[in-house]
Symmetry: C2
Subunit: 311 residues, 2 copies
Amino acid sequence: MALLAADLGGTKLALAIFSEQGEILFEERVALGNRAGEEVGLLIREQFRAVVGRYDISAAGICVPGIYHKTTGRVWAPNIGGWTDYPLQAELEEFLDQIPVCIDSDRACYILGEYWKGAAQGCKDAIYLAVGTGIGAGIMAGGQILRGGHDIAGAIGWMALERPFHPRFAPAGCFEGYASGTGMALHVQKLMEENVKYNGALRQGSRAEDVFKAYETGDEIAVQVINNCIELWGMAMANLVSLFDPEKIILGGGVFGPAVTFIPQMVAEASKWAQPVSMKLVQVEASMLQDKAGLYGAGMLAQKAKQETGV
Amino acid sequence: MALLAADLGGTKLALAIFSEQGEILFEERVALGNRAGEEVGLLIREQFRAVVGRYDISAAGICVPGIYHKTTGRVWAPNIGGWTDYPLQAELEEFLDQIPVCIDSDRACYILGEYWKGAAQGCKDAIYLAVGTGIGAGIMAGGQILRGGHDIAGAIGWMALERPFHPRFAPAGCFEGYASGTGMALHVQKLMEENVKYNGALRQGSRAEDVFKAYETGDEIAVQVINNCIELWGMAMANLVSLFDPEKIILGGGVFGPAVTFIPQMVAEASKWAQPVSMKLVQVEASMLQDKAGLYGAGMLAQKAKQETGV
């Protein structure tokens, strides 16, 4: 028996067949192109159809880029057109017939994936801090995924870390507004406007990866942007430590990535702020599964679906 | 059958007998005086002995002012002399013999109490934000008390809310350093030093309750201290909302108390910062049980101990 796992993103659908021990037996990746709404649902079913015949699938798990509402089985995915309240669970249950299926948000899947086969193995209290275009946290507390009262828990991009409130925090939050990939790019833009004499490598439109490259050469704007991020990443880490007292914090997403080289500086910053006993005991590590964390998480969801239905 | 509940504080021991339905049948309160170490353990046993003969006790629960380490059964209570690692569970198990006993931290008890008989009835995701001399949070997530990996979860007084780091945050954290009772008193002191012409009602040594009184008369320092607190309480509330997506946040402790009149301003501040969907859905309320939240929480612990041992 094998597990079917899918990681749906804003631009691609990744799919894997796992053995029940968590080995990847088959893997593929297809671009969403300009699909939206039901076309994305159709793509998932087509890809599933192609593999369901070839493997003896006992359960399926899906990682979605947004919020999964457990009671309704519906998905809100801001980067997929028309997916404001998409009935994915019902659609897949009908299609998969006897095969149980379990869906969850990307942030829940990241920490589940790391728990199953990555850096959080053996943990009951671990957090995946995902910093990419946006910022979110997948939180395992006492062995359970933290969902919240309305399935939106872990929206750490909205964390308040600097006062007073500034209107630029309104679209996506204070932490995300500075310290996500998008936030870093906006910060570059702002600093270039303030510093007309700047003649370094960065330009309007430079992205997070350009900032990391420019930092290597000592570029003044890159240094300012990265130092600002280190402070905020450290403060956010401190707040997770003080509130959740976790065994591990795992850093992943597109920005970690390159930013994992700054873990020692971030830990030093966090150590100033956090509850001191918890801070001494927490381990901070880079994601082991990197861009496959969501896919592994979906595999873990499939295993959960299998156990819950007892197939 | 009845439940024995004790709420141990830094200065008093409160004790109650609950019916299994959660009615208080008997209640007493005794000052710790200058007891420390084993004398406090002895006091608990003496008070227990007096009631155990008079009621048919099925289980006992104790709320302790600090950290309860579940695996060792030991207590760290900073305001009780010699209680750095006190073996309370073992001591009480021996004394109570066949009666099962369950211990937990004050912050866990506050939210358990509100869940049992207060403002969090029917909730699975609710947080008790306790602001008094210090600041802590009792967190229920998915129906479970959040303990963390080392039993220290909920240390929200350490929350980073303003940068850069300042040495005055070192002893007890940024949030607690400003917005606890102690923090408010320190803030008064600092503002008086900065403003030698001030001739209002506050003095060096004024306490939180004096600040609330002076605020009523428009006292300039009191207004500054309270406005500063409203901003920080709001930001902390926002961060709880974004991370935990709770159904309710319940405000208690000595400072809430008087500060509950500022709930509308705090909610307005929090609404600027927090994940907007979660913020619309959360309810913010004053503690229903007030200074009895810990005692009710201990009652709930007793009920839990009873259920777990099946007596």
